[in-house]
Symmetry: C2
Subunit: 339 residues, 2 copies
DNA sequence: GCCTAACAAGACAACGTTGTCATTGAGAAG
DNA sequence: CTTCTCAATGACAACGTTGTCTTGTTAGGC
């Protein structure tokens, strides 16, 4: 195992000074053609690789890297966001460090700290905890931060979200218009802003339709697809089962689908889910969803981030990306079907 | 915007030497309790953040970061791998840089170079091109490399793959045992090793069953789900349509499902796909697939990588992870159903 | 032939940190 | 009281690179 060649080695082999090697490697002007050749051949001969870390230390302290902290990189939601951000970073020569937070508060701060230690120029964060003020001093020191999917608290940063409450309300309105009166709502951890917002939208929608929500049908704090299946089964087996279900996150929606299948009720109980998911259109019945434009969400987040990395101090921007109610079969099932 | 505090600033504020601050920050022994307190309070007061880049420069040159170069981070296949690797890296305090290659050869070398410039300690690579010898000198300099999903060429590195040909052959055997004789094969770019292997397995399976493959039914170089749909429609509309289809990658399988639906043949034509995909069990009919244990694949890759990062020179290991033929409905459709 | 640009090339310090070694002082052993 | 030991602390160089400044060389104008 041979040691890595440094500029010093290249300089020695080509018989020039360190600085001249630096100039050639960085493509700076003011080096004669002859020396450029000599240096380049030494670079090739020694397999010299530029060390960005050392370079950044001396230069303006930019590392050309960003951190992306999302919920779960395996989940298509996070994965699509990451990909959209990556596609903006690559042409800019910016490297992407990523991590799944699994909605763990302590992990959020821990991983953010790890990224700051590595001196990322920016951070795209899907906030987990209810307080991001730990980022304050880093932001003051020049760290660009964009909150995505959920707003940050305790610091003033650029934000890209969707109108969760509005979209949820619209979904409920859609079901109510079909004549549904017993509409259930399944949502995830109340600790998460989107879950609270979507639940709020559900309640607003119910109120707008003049419906009194049965609190037994409003189930929160579901942590997984499996728990959603369980909860749905209990609802379906109860004395007064719902005729329609609103599921507030894609994995919960899938859990609901499983439960409906188990009871053979997939064509009897209406369903609208928040977040589109792969194959939703190929299920039978195809599942009606509120789709977020994740490409746009990620692209906007990346744009805001890069803009802020360019010039740090500007008033923070709060962008709301539109959602689309994708009408498929499951959302069009009338209440009559359930008798 | 205030400049970032350095150890020098902390030392000045707490009235100790630079080295003492370094000792406290790194938790090294030999500092009196009183000074530890003084330093820690200065650290807190100045919001000092340790600079890993500078630290690594002086230390053993390990950056505590790895690069992960996969096909497409949005695709559940790559996303699951990334997540499995991330889950091994996190407890080790290792940061993960990732990138999608989209099967572009030039991007592979480019991104690998970008990671090497950042001095990652290791690289998990899903090789795209047919020559990875450009990594030779970096490996000699201590870079740990693991090839995943496909073997690397031109360098001797640890490898984690599955028995693509064997699994494909098994799938074809399954279909042949049901009595299918006209079995189509849809595969992706011949440039990709897995595509070639799976096609080879298909041909072996056909031969083993005493079947002569009709070359019009062996379609290669499909680049997307859409192209798979197109190709399937053409096959279905031909004079002698297949009674069963083998699709060599998850997105192609989905494309085939779409085509079968369009012709109303989803319960008439058998289908087995390579790679499981979300919701495959919830489609009607549920899709029979060859499932790879991606958690295991990613975990094994990460294990090999970390082992090699620990002690560089050991004979390279070539691991084959088992696949499972997940028998669902679409693979059990008999040929009679197609008349 | 002399002076001045203009340019090529190098010497040196600095980025933020840590390894190595020297210094200091206190307490133990004689 | 001296010498020795040991623990705590600090001075300094070094990691690989680049910004700044200096030096040297050559060509051109008078």
């Amino acid at each position: 195992m041979r040691m890595r060649a440094t500029m010093k080695d290249v300089a020695a082999l080509s018989g020039v000074s360190l600085k001249t090697v630096s100039r050639v490697v960085n493509g700076e002007p003011g080096v004669s053609e002859e020396l450029i050749q000599r240096v380049q051949s030494a670079v090739a001969q020694l397999d010299y690789r530029h060390n960005l870390a050392a370079s950044n230390l001396r230069r303006g302290h930019r590392t050309g890297s960003i951190g992306v902290l999302l919920h779960d990189l395996r989940n298509p939601f996070s994965a699509t966001l990451l990909r959209a951000i990556e596609d903006r970073a690559r042409p800019a020569g910016v490297a992407v460090l990523s991590s799944s937070l699994d909605d763990l508060q302590e992990r959020e701060a821990l991983m953010a700290g790890a990224m700051v230690s590595r001196r990322v120029d920016g951070l795209v964060l899907m906030p987990t905890g209810d307080d991001q003020s730990y980022l304050f001093s880093d932001i003051r020191a020049g760290l660009a931060v964009v909150a995505v999917d959920r707003p940050a608290r305790g610091v003033d940063v650029d934000t890209v979200v969707v109108d969760n409450a509005g979209a949820a309300q619209q979904a409920v309105a859609e079901l109510a218009a079909l004549g549904h009166r017993r509409i259930a709502c399944l949502s995830d951890s109340e600790q998460i802003w989107t879950a609270r917002e979507r639940r709020r939208g559900y309640l607003k929608g119910m109120a707008a339709a003049g419906l009194e929500p049965d609190e037994r049908m409003v189930v929160a704090n579901l942590r997984s697809s499996l728990e959603a299946t369980q909860a749905t089964l209990e609802l379906l087996d109860s004395a007064e089962p719902p005729t329609a279900i609103f599921a507030a996150r894609n994995d919960l929606t899938v859990g609901v689908v499983r439960a409906l299948r188990q009871r053979g009720l997939q064509r009897a109980v209406a369903l609208i889910g928040f977040d589109d998911f792969p194959m939703a259109d190929l299920l039978e019945p195809a599942v009606t969803v509120i789709a977020q434009d994740l490409e746009a969400l990620g692209a906007r987040a990346a744009d805001l981030l890069f803009a802020r990395m360019q010039q740090g101090s500007a008033p923070s921007q709060h962008v709301e990306v539109a959602t689309t109610l994708v009408l498929r079969e499951s959302g069009a099932i009338p209440p009559a079907a359930s008798r």
